[in-house]
């Protein structure tokens, strides 16, 4: 198994719900509490396992704003695990989840240096390194209803931009999404082989009408071409293509609207 997250940048609105859901769940989760420093002070800070960044791509007026949630990628070749001298950081063989055993962690920070994604944070109060647990205490909790055995961030995401599952299983939703939407890893050149994938922005929506020729004018559907009286049942049929058959303006451009030809439409 290769459990991980697939995050859709095309619908992520950057709302931080996933980040706070993560904070909330994990505060009393297996690595909680997630200490907050100076919570009411000038420079509030604290331990978060998931943070959302906001980027801009391109230049006004063609710029795009892209929101990028970042949590542990559960790398297949995790440098954080390699460098950890105590074995506190480890990658589970069964499902690929990268975890920290707080008992063993000596707080050397080496893993945080080694992680290129900045997804590990030291809790100075407990003296241990903390990171996304992939909500290991949810996804295997058989006492939760099936649909909720999913990470808190995924459960919460209002735009359903986050998906969780087994990327090893070609039939899983996540694998399918990655295939279909060409999901990609971040910083691929560093060779950490992240499991988490990001779905790129979709090309502009399919329904954008093609408007090479003058729209709607020489392109009327048969229904729209029908004109004439309509009433009752027929009226409903006429409604289907309710656009007028002709443009009054085009026909008699010089006429004021008070003289535009009327269509017989029954009330």
């Amino acid at each position: 198994m290769k459990l991980g997250l697939v995050i859709d940048l095309d619908t992520c609105v950057g709302c931080h719900a996933c980040a706070v859901a993560c904070k909330q769940w994990n505060s009393s989760g297996i690595s909680g509490p997630l200490t907050d420093y100076h919570p009411y002070g000038d420079q509030p800070g604290g331990v978060w396992l998931n943070r959302v960044r906001h980027y801009e791509e391109g230049v006004y007026p063609n710029s795009k704003t892209v929101n990028l949630p970042l949590s542990c990628m559960h790398c297949e070749q995790p440098p954080c695990v390699d460098v950890c001298p105590t074995g506190a950081s480890y990658k589970r063989e069964s499902d690929g989840v990268v975890l920290v055993d707080g008992e063993r962690c000596i707080g050397c920070n080496y893993c945080a240096w080694a992680c290129p994604y900045g997804t590990r944070e030291l809790d100075t109060a407990s003296g241990t390194m903390k990171k996304c647990t992939l909500c290991i205490d949810r996804i295997y909790d058989t006492r939760l209803p099936e649909a909720e055995r999913t990470p808190a961030c995924v459960l919460s995401c209002p735009t359903r931009a986050r998906h969780f599952g087994d990327l090893d299983d070609p039939d899983s939703t996540v694998a399918e999404l990655v295939r279909e939407r060409r999901g990609y890893p971040l910083l691929p050149e560093l060779g950490c082989v992240p499991v988490n994938r990001y779905l790129p922005l979709r090309p502009s929506a399919a329904s954008r009408p093609s408007l090479e020729h003058e729209p709607g004018r020489d392109e009327l559907s048969p229904a729209q071409r029908s004109s004439g009286p309509a009433t009752g049942q027929e009226g409903a049929a006429a409604e289907r293509g309710g656009a007028p058959a002709r443009s009054p303006h085009r026909q008699q451009p010089a006429q004021p609207p008070s003289q535009w030809p009327n269509r017989r439409i029954y009330r």
Binding site: C15, V20, T35, H38, D141, S156, T159, L211, H249
Partner: protein, 981 residues
């Protein structure tokens, strides 16, 4: 749904312990409704030993269907906020207001002091009590209370919020944007979002946007700033603030010019074919031609005659000028619209110069709208019956949906701009049909809803109507014989005839200036009006401290009902501490702001899950108790005893009309009647069993064309949404506005504006057809000197003032910046991180600058409500919000720049009185080196009242139980290989 690996749990040795990580035996799951914001999502709360373990979305709830936003997820930190008020507070006798000298008093003391005062007011002039509520959504109760008390000076936050939008909708479509309808997320093919950052339907919007993107529908965002929703739009139209009307009307221009409009929709469902009298300078000009029965007239193409326009079997002309039987010239409403919008003034080229959006783009958008409306029509096969009893075998959908919010509403031309957008929807036939913007019950309502605002007050007498309503002409205004406002906020006066939600933002200024009269007591509930929901904040703070010659406060008594230590609390004479949303009974009622969905009405409750941790009381309970003490008729029996045990009892048993109460679910003795039926003593329990909400799904045949859908109309009449089952004819042409205009022209018999200023404004702005005008404040500002528009946006992580106390949310956003377009900023010599002065004609504020691409070059903006007064909200006085964050409100004036000989005018939309937050123009200049690093204006740190600690706190470690770690075996540590090659 994600494939869960749970199946592996049993077989996976590493995972086996995971099942025991949560002490489920000490946990309990309960349902209630979120109130981290007014979206009111359903939540499922896991409690552990009396503490909150986890708040998650209720998957069955119609509003959020399981998802939860950032705020909702941070409920724990609101519940355990250290800004929570602990006990009733009284300003110490002899100390100055605003000095922060409070003493804790008992509830009995607080309530008897207040009752005494209120009894005196009620016995003399009940108007001397003004009761204004901010972000609450329980106006059914507060409104009832106020009318029972007998004061017309009651209003909720709508006036400073989005009343432009609501009123435009209710006078045009019978429903509106805001909370009154939703885009048809499932079906729409083309979604145009105007000026919306979050809106109230916060989670539904996010869900919806994802849905339309997944389906490949097109999403066009009109907004000067590209963040949030606009970030994921297929197309971004960076419009210049305050010009949406011009854009909408240019689109109308193109559609009319090209004949791209829904002929039958306009004929059948709107007043487009109605004949309008054309006798300029004479009484009756611009009103609809009506017969003796008052029925509007149309020109029937078959009979070639003017006939009653409400009949069936006629073919009304959409265009043309005709002559009425009495010889008066008439034109169809659509002819008037076409004449207006085909004018060069509304050409795309002209609009381009106003909005900053290229004419070719406007042309293309118009063409796209027409294409999708008429070539991508969708159909739902389903029998339905129209108002005239005609059967149809399908619903035709024009899958274009629009939605707009405060980007349009918060400008003084927003009412007409919103009307223009509604006209656009009507032309496309895209109203409440499949794929369009759909009304949510109890909408659509009649145009306008048949409620007139109360005017008469008398000692010890309840009002005969509600304080708020929908005027249809000058006769309905709340003015005295001299044409002067009767309400403290001057709502429903000539200065704001359709101010259907009141004008909260004016109350302090008016009361302190005694214009139209002084108040005795002002109760503010859930509104931070001394700070972020007021304009001109610094002078409001002064006004709250202002005294008359006798040394008495000009606003004698200020009662603030809040749950937290807000800036307003600091200026109160009496502070009544409320509970939090997890501690009280509440009801989200259809009589109020509905949480309905287009497919049917819904409502919800809140139940207390936690014991309050201070001597605090739910304000609703307190209101009921006050009502009993004061003997307000609806709340007491004949013998003066309390009619209702408590608020919950009230919710279940109170009937507004026979069978209609605060909650619509499980009515009738046996709980079998949805929406209308006798009170059911078991009702509350049924809500709890159902996850704290009720949803009634309409049959598919009643879900669309509700304005003309016989079955729906009859049902909505039966359950009391509408006073009759008459079809709702949309108002392309707005006759009520013309009635005001006629009065201003001296062409009607009723009341007339008392002075030239009012006359001129009514004449100009109460136009029955939308038109574009430059926002009022801008028109009075030297725009060469004040080169930027300054606007604010809702941050997705914060709710107005109240989330800065939240230890988690403020880590995401504790300081706001002034954002400016990068190349514009660089050209002006600015760099990221510069400290700048933002100056308007009214004031200035200092801020840190950030440059970005996604901002229209003439616009600067910031996140709303971030700046705090030092020492408030349980924050350390040095908190970023107070020292570096800033409040744009300092530069927004509550009055328009004064013109010679003119009376003071509120900085509002002249029709609805909507606060014009986004009209302000500013200039930006670099602050000097020694000014950099902190905001200004700034005040000395507030002294926290008893019970509130705002001292330093080094760490916060919240958890409901000791973590059970997952530990590795030594063997595993030693033997596991390395991963990297």
């Amino acid at each position: 749904m994600p494939s869960t690996p749970a199946a592996g749990a049993a077989t996976d040795p590493e995972a086996a312990p995971a099942a025991n990580l949560e002490p489920r035996d000490q946990q309990e799951v309960r349902y209630t409704t979120c109130y981290m914001c007014a979206c009111r999502c359903g939540i499922r709360v896991t409690l552990e030993n009396g503490k909150v373990r986890f708040i998650q979305g209720n998957p069955d709830h119609p509003v959020n269907r399981g998802v939860l936003c950032a705020k909702g997820n941070a409920g724990i930190m609101k519940q355990y906020s250290r800004a929570k008020l602990r006990a009733p507070l009284r300003r110490k006798p002899g100390t100055e207001r605003g000095a922060g000298e409070f003493e804790e008093i008992s509830w009995e003391e607080a309530l008897s002091e207040l009752t005494e005062r209120l009894r005196a007011i009620r016995g003399s002039d009940p108007r001397k009590l003004a009761y204004f509520t901010g972000r609450d959504q329980m106006q059914a109760l507060t409104g009832l209370w106020a009318s029972q008390f007998g004061t017309i000076n009651w209003a909720a936050h709508g006036g400073f919020c989005s009343v432009n939008m609501a009123t435009a909708g209710l006078y045009t479509l019978g429903h509106a944007f805001w909370e009154f309808g939703d885009p048809d997320w499932e079906r729409t093919r083309y979604f145009m979002l105007w000026g919306t950052a979050e809106d109230h339907a916060s989670n539904p919007f996010k869900r919806g946007i994802e849905e339309i993107k997944r389906r490949g529908a097109r999403f066009v965002a009109v907004n000067p700033v590209r963040t949030g929703y606009q970030a994921v739009a297929d197309e971004w139209l960076p419009i210049r603030p305050g010009t949406d009307g011009a854009l909408a009307m240019a689109l109308i221009h193109c559609l009319l010019r090209d004949g791209q409009f829904d002929w039958s929709f306009l004929v059948r469902y709107t007043n487009a074919p109605y004949l309008v009298v054309q006798t300029p300078g004479e009484a009756g000009d611009g009103l609809l031609l009506r017969d003796e029965q008052g029925r509007p007239q149309v020109y029937d193409l078959d009979r070639e005659a003017i006939v009653d326009g409400t009949q069936v079997e006629i073919a009304p002309a959409l265009f043309g000028s005709y002559t009425a039987a009495d010889g008066r010239p008439v034109k169809t409403a659509l002819t008037l619209a076409a004449e207006r919008f085909l004018d060069e003034a509304y050409s795309p080229e002209r609009a381009a110069t106003i909005c900053g959006i290229p004419a070719a783009t406007i042309e293309r958008i118009a063409a796209e709208l027409a294409h999708v409306a008429f070539n991508e029509t969708i159909e739902i096969e389903c029998e339905w019956v129209d108002w005239a009893g005609r059967k149809h075998d399908r619903f035709i959908g024009r899958p274009i949906s629009m939605h707009a919010m405060r980007g349009v509403a918060a400008h003084s031309n927003g009412f007409q701009a919103a009307r223009a957008i509604h006209l656009l929807q009507m032309l496309l036939g895209a109203v409440d049909c499949p794929g369009a913007h759909r009304a949510k019950a109890p909408y659509p309502r009649q145009i306008p809803p048949p409620l007139r605002p109360a005017r008469e007050t008398a000692p010890n007498t309840p009002l005969s109507a509600t304080p708020l309503g929908f005027p249809t002409g000058p006769e309905d205004l709340v003015i005295d014989g001299d044409g002067q406002p009767l309400r403290i906020d001057k709502a429903f006066s000539w200065q704001a005839p359709l101010s259907t939600h009141g004008k909260m933002h004016t109350v302090i200024t008016n009361a302190v200036e005694g214009d139209p009269y002084p108040l005795d007591t002002l109760i503010l509930f859930m509104a931070n009006m001394a700070w972020n929901s007021t304009m001109n904040t610094d002078s409001v703070l002064e006004m709250l401290r202002a005294k008359d010659e006798q040394g008495e406060y000009k606003l004698p008594y200020l009662v603030v009902v809040d749950a937290f230590h807000s800036e307003s609390v600091h200026y109160a004479d009496l502070v009544l501490p409320d509970t939090t949303y997890l501690e009280r009974h509440d009801c989200i009622s259809l009589l109020d702001r509905p949480i309905s969905e287009p497919d049917g009405p819904a409502d919800a409750i809140r139940q207390p899950l936690l014991e309050p941790d201070g001597d605090v009381r739910p304000w609703q309970e307190v209101m009921i108790e006050l009502a009993v003490r004061l003997g307000l008729p609806e709340f007491v029996n004949a013998d003066g005893s309390a009619k209702y045990r408590d608020y919950q009892d009230f919710i279940v048993h109170y009937e507004k009309a026979p069978g209609i109460g605060f909650l619509a679910g499980w009515r009738g003795r046996d709980g079998t009647q949805p929406l209308r039926g006798e009170p059911n003593p078991e009702q509350w329990q049924r809500y709890i069993e159902n996850g704290a909400f009720f949803k009634h799904e309409l049959p598919l045949s009643q879900q669309f064309y509700k304005f003309a859908n016989k079955d729906y109309l009859e049902w909505s009449h039966a359950v009391g949404f509408n006073p009759s089952a008459e079809p709702i004819v949309m108002a392309l042409y707005s006759e009520p506005l013309q009635r005001f205009r006629l009065a201003a022209q001296g062409l009607s018999d009723g009341p007339q504006p008392p002075d030239e200023t009012d006359r001129e404004r009514i004449r100009t702005y109460c136009d029955p057809l939308p038109f574009f005008y430059t926002p009022l404040e801008e028109a009075r500002t030297d725009t060469d000197a004040y080169t930027f528009h300054a606007i604010t946006q809702r941050p997705m992580t914060h709710y107005h003032a109240w989330d800065s106390q939240n230890a988690w949310l403020r880590q995401i956003l504790a300081q706001n910046y002034l954002y400016m377009n990068r190349s514009r900023g660089e050209a002006l010599g600015f760099a990221d991180g510069d400290w700048v002065w933002v100056e308007s004609h009214a004031g200035k504020v200092r801020a840190e600058l950030r440059l970005m691409e996604g901002t229209q070059p003439d616009t600067v903006w910031t996140w709303n409500g971030m700046g705090k007064m030092s020492g408030a909200w349980g924050l350390e006085p040095a908190a970023a919000e107070a020292q570096r964050g800033f409040l744009l409100n300092h530069v927004i004036d509550d009055r328009l720049p004064r013109r010679d000989g003119e009376k003071p005018l509120s900085n509002s939309d002249p029709i609805t009185g909507q606060a014009a937050w986004y009209d302000v123009r500013v200039r930006v200049r670099k602050a000097s080196a020694d000014e950099a690093g902190s905001t200004a204006p700034n005040w000395p740190a507030l002294k926290p009242p008893p019970g509130i600690d705002n001292g330093p706190l080094a760490v916060l470690r919240y958890a409901t139980h000791q973590a059970v770690g997952l530990s590795r075996s030594v063997r595993d540590v030693l033997t596991r290989g390395r991963w990297a090659p």
